[in-house]
């Protein structure tokens, strides 16, 4: 059995490392230790919006058991949660509350957009009251497609998130440098949201047909 490499990115040859470990010394980066602990205990928010919430609950029950990945502590209050799983359709009436809850969460915080509706509006995209993707207002870390995604998919999205957490650099990551990230809460005017999207987070995709002139002629 090989010992796990506790010092990734540190220039240390194997013999020196083994010698140090025999003496009870482990050389590691703060980033590595911190991210290892963070990724192993992500606390999600108990936040069900629609159909996907049932599969989110199912992923926490005995058959799928999200606690194997350290995330069984669902907190009902945003002040104690790290991860927001936007599980379901975000309507225009609900979007301000979703952003407000996100703003209340302490750093570092992550978002999984679960299901087709949270990603893009899904089957209800044509509806007059459905927000076409929560990423218009808050940054999303993992997009989890499906309608609804299976509980196994929820677990996989958590694994992807943990992978992302492992690559975090404490010195440069916005979660640790700019303080608690807060985004302006849109206002529901009764018919639509004002503003329609947050330009800091999301920009409408460029029109693929509107090519620059030199590219089109080349």
């Amino acid at each position: 059995m090989t010992t796990p490499n506790t010092s990734p990115g540190i220039d240390l040859d194997d013999t020196t490392r083994a010698e140090l470990e025999r003496a009870g010394v482990i050389v590691s980066k703060v980033d590595y230790l911190y991210n290892w602990a963070r990724g192993g205990s992500v606390w999600p928010l108990t936040f069900g919006l629609a159909c996907c919430a049932i599969e989110m609950i199912a992923s926490a029950t005995s058959r799928f058991d999200i606690s194997r990945f350290g995330s069984e502590v669902f907190r009902p209050t945003p002040r104690q949660a790290d991860l927001m799983i936007v599980s379901g359709t975000v309507t225009k009436k609900m979007a301000p509350q979703v952003v407000r809850i996100y703003n209340q969460m302490p750093e570092p915080k992550w978002v999984i957009a679960m299901g087709a509706c949270a990603i893009s509006g899904g089957p209800f995209k044509q509806g007059y009251n459905v927000l076409k993707g929560i990423d218009r207002y808050i940054p999303v870390d993992v997009y989890l497609p499906g309608c609804p995604p299976r509980p196994e998919a929820v677990l996989q999205s958590l694994n992807y998130l943990q992978e992302k957490i492992r690559t975090q650099d404490i010195k440069s990551d916005p979660a640790f440098t700019v303080g608690r990230r807060q985004y302006p809460v849109p206002e529901f005017t009764g018919t639509d949201l004002e503003p329609p999207y947050n330009p800091e987070v999301w920009q409408p995709p460029a029109n693929p047909n509107a090519q620059p002139l030199e590219e089109a002629t080349a």
């Binding site: 629609a50 049932i54 058959r63 089957p123 209800f124 509806g127």
Partner: protein
Amino acid sequence: MSNATATAPNYELIQRDGLDTGLLEISMGPHHPSTHGVFRMDVKLDGETVVDLQPVFGYLHRNHEKLAENMSYLSSMPFTDRLDYFNSMTNNWAYALAAEQLIEIEIPERAEYLRVIMSELTRLVNHVSLVGFFVNDLGALGTPLLYAFREREKILDLFEQASGARMMCNYFRFGGLRNDVPEGWLDRAREVVDRFPKFLDEYEKLLCENEIILSRTQGVGNLSKELAISAGITGPMLRASGESYDIRKVDRYGIYDRFQFRVPYSEGDVGDCYDRFMVRMLEMRESIGILKQALDGIEDGPVLGNAPKVFKPKPAEAYGRIEAPKGELGFYLIADGTPKPYRFRVRPPSFINLTVLRDMCLGQKVADAVIILGSIDIVLGEVDR
């Protein structure tokens, strides 16, 4: 109606022991662990007693009806799955019943049997989960819900084998079912059905005479028979208030006239949370009886009549209703000769059952308001549509 509706006492400022204590207003929801989704209750409290309650919904309004009016009849079928997302099979059936009235089509025998089997399995899923969530609201965090979801998974496996999806089955078609069940499915279904009573025994032993459940639910959230009928309450909630009314018996839609089953209802005129809980527990036993009879009676044959995929029904109206696990689920369609319905209206049981929430909560403690909401059994996808 005047006697039946409870009225809020006129509190302005309460003086008690020389202290001036006003009313406390709290907004429970839309993000609240006990509201079963995105539902908000504006509660006015005197101490801990609820003196007024205003339900606020519309946080999950997904434009079902408007979307359905802009697509062909069959295209609406997957959308009905997402109304009451616990019970996609029964939603499918209610919609298929309404549309089948417009096109007058024969349904094969095997399809009728499978429809009954799927619906009763759905009823088991719904009731077992509801009881789990209800006890969760009472404070029994975890265990009963985990037991419930363990059983739910077994039935969802059956749904997945038959239709390819766990929750959003989209399995029914006008004139039958999309496909036949795979080989050996009926045996597996029988195995699940045969084992279910053993689980129910365990569940009942744990919950039905539990001291905490008795004291928290008995006499809480009373709903009189008179008010229940005048408010249009249906389903287990109406039966808990003492009225034996079940559309499976009244309409005998499908082939329900072939099965022997009883309709559990409460004898008294109390209609409290415990009655609503017990009626659901007893209904599961009856569902198992229906399932056994249906699994015995089913024979080989086709599962889909010759229904066209796109059709233009003559201008007509149709209303199809079934006894969904939550109450009367109806679909009202107006056809105008085009491939799309002119009007598509859903009669959602949980929305109409929710209308008496204020009457049941007045005078109760705020912690009981949570239980009362849990005992109504709402799903917000259906309430807001």
